[in-house]
């Protein structure tokens, strides 16, 4: 079975060809120009997606040595993300679907991340715990099968990647600040300054990173009223990173122990953070749990993870379930449904 997957929920325009759970190609066009502006810019994002999407899709097919006519389905990310960016991807996919008469599988971006560990590691045992950490998301899931998972908790305010980025802005670091903080932290002392670990002992699996942001602001104002001296930057970065990683790791391990799982998957852009990877791996080992650390191309937003889960769904539900072209895109999807 062959799937062409399209992903354009935020910065990355990405396309991938998946064939029987194998990744034949995984093309990601990073929109590096964003770094000049200090954030993902909606206008630039959707415009850039428009410009690159057909090139990226064609490259994915070429690299996979496949023709579009050989595809059994097109998978596309429809939620969550920036509305404009999602629309570009979903309309492109609808166009292909109509022209080549191929079923189309609307796919949830977070679900892509949830199962991204299985692309590179076939030995992952169900159920497992998945921590999804990125600029827009911070949530813990218990995954029971390819069609069944449950949300254990999520951030009640800022995402962890958002915390890295906004605190980075306060420290005068370039966007995206996450990798920059990771790099600087390597030469800093993580115990130099004590920043709050919000909700560390909240007794649930929710997170909060907004207070950390406020606390860093006051810390800088009080300790360094004339500006942060450059030689202190590594210590501040290491201490901030330590505060974020502490909470992420503790809750992930707690969940893994409570649900007695063998594997913990850490996915999403923040999962590239070296301190998070090492700490989670070390702490989990003590509990006999294996942490699945993703290859960089599966940490960031990518289309392979979209095609991978879409193929499972197609196998389960059959092509007739995916003939509807009237689906819509949706900016947010983690929200609890209203009771009434």
């Amino acid at each position: 079975m062959n799937i062409l997957a399209i992903e354009s929920s935020c910065d990355e325009t990405a396309a991938s060809v998946i064939s029987n759970s194998r990744v034949l190609s995984n093309i990601i066009s990073s929109q590096h120009f964003h770094s000049k502006y200090g954030g993902v810019i909606p206008e630039l994002a959707s415009r850039a997606h428009l410009e690159s999407i057909s090139v990226v899709a064609r490259e994915a097919l070429t690299k996979a040595e496949k023709k579009i006519e050989e595809m059994n389905a097109i998978a596309v990310t429809t939620e969550p993300g920036l509305i404009g960016s999602l629309i570009v991807g979903s309309n492109f996919a609808k166009g292909l679907s109509i022209k080549y008469n191929i079923p189309i599988i609307p796919t949830n971006h977070i679900e892509g991340h949830l199962y991204s560990g299985n692309i590179q590691d076939e030995t992952i045992v169900l159920p497992y715990i998945a921590l999804v950490v990125s600029g827009g998301h911070t949530a813990l899931f218990k995954v029971e099968s390819y069609s069944k998972y449950s949300l254990l908790g999520s951030t009640v305010d800022d995402a962890s990647g958002e915390a890295f980025d906004k605190i980075g802005t306060m420290l005068g670091l370039p966007y995206p600040a996450g990798p920059e903080i990771d790099k600087l932290a390597k030469t800093g002392n993580p115990n130099a300054f004590a920043f709050p670990r919000s909700m560390l002992h909240s007794g649930n699996y929710n997170f909060s990173f907004s207070g950390l942001k406020t606390s860093v602001r006051y810390f800088l104002e009080k300790q360094f009223p004339h500006g942060l001296p450059e030689e202190k930057l590594p210590d501040v970065c290491a201490s901030v990173q330590e505060a974020i990683v502490d909470v992420l790791v503790k809750k992930s391990i707690d969940a893994s122990v409570e649900y007695n799982v063998k594997h913990l998957i850490i996915a999403g852009g923040v999962s590239a953070n070296s301190c998070l990877r090492k700490r989670a791996t070390d702490m989990a080992r003590l509990q006999g749990i294996k942490v699945v650390v993703l290859n960089p191309e599966y940490c960031i937003d990518n289309a392979a993870m979209i095609g991978f889960i879409a193929e499972k769904r197609l196998l389960e539900n059959g092509p007739d379930a995916y003939q509807d072209l009237t689906f819509k895109v949706n900016a947010s999807s983690l929200r609890a449904k209203r009771k009434k």
């Binding site: 935020c10 502006y37 200090g38 954030g39 993902v40 810019i41 909606p42 206008e43 959707s46 969550p80 993300g81 920036l82 509305i83 404009g84 600029g135 827009g136 998301h137 999520s154 951030t155 009640v156 305010d157 800022d158 995402a159 958002e162 906004k166 802005t169 306060m170 907004s210 207070g211 942001k213 406020t214 606390s215 860093v216 602001r217 006051y218 009080k222 900016a331 947010s332 983690l334 929200r335 609890a336 209203r338 009771k339």
Partner: protein
């Protein structure tokens, strides 16, 4: 509730002030929030949403620019749009996200964080909430509502 200047002593009081202020609001209203990173804009909005009995998670929409919640007013459902312009850099980007259409819709309540980036595209009867830090006190905030 009388508008004016308030001092809140902690996060909870900022939330409570948002809750009490929400009594003013009716469909079509726009609330513009101003204040630095970490001032408590989202906290104030959480209070407003609680008043309208929003039972979904109210969190930062920085990534997706807009969250939509369903609230309740006089036993009717009311859409509440939580918009965050933090990442907007120029006015043409507001068009891209359909900001002017959203902001002038009269069936919903619009709560706009980082409203200084709305480039004047706000109705004249917009409520404005200014949250500023108090020097040397980590928890207190001065909140002006007009």
């Amino acid at each position: 509730m009388k508008l004016g200047k308030f001092t809140t002593k902690n996060q909870k009081e900022t939330y409570d002030l948002g809750f009490r202020f929400a009594d003013e609001l009716k469909p079509g209203n726009v609330v513009a929030l101003f204040g630095d990173l970490g001032a408590g804009k989202t906290e104030f909005i959480k209070g407003i949403c609680a008043y309208f009995k929003v039972d979904e998670l109210v969190n930062s929409p920085t990534f997706t620019i807009m969250n939509q919640y369903i609230g309740e007013l006089d036993e009717n459902e009311i859409p509440i749009l939580h918009i965050d312009l933090y990442r907007i850099k120029k006015s043409s980007e507001l068009k891209e996200i359909g900001f002017d259409e959203i902001i002038f819709s009269n069936d919903s309540i619009k709560l706009v964080e980082w409203a200084d980036k709305a480039f004047g595209v706000l109705p004249p009867d917009t409520y404005s909430i200014n949250i500023s830090f108090k020097k040397n006190n980590e928890n207190e905030r001065i909140i002006t509502i007009d």
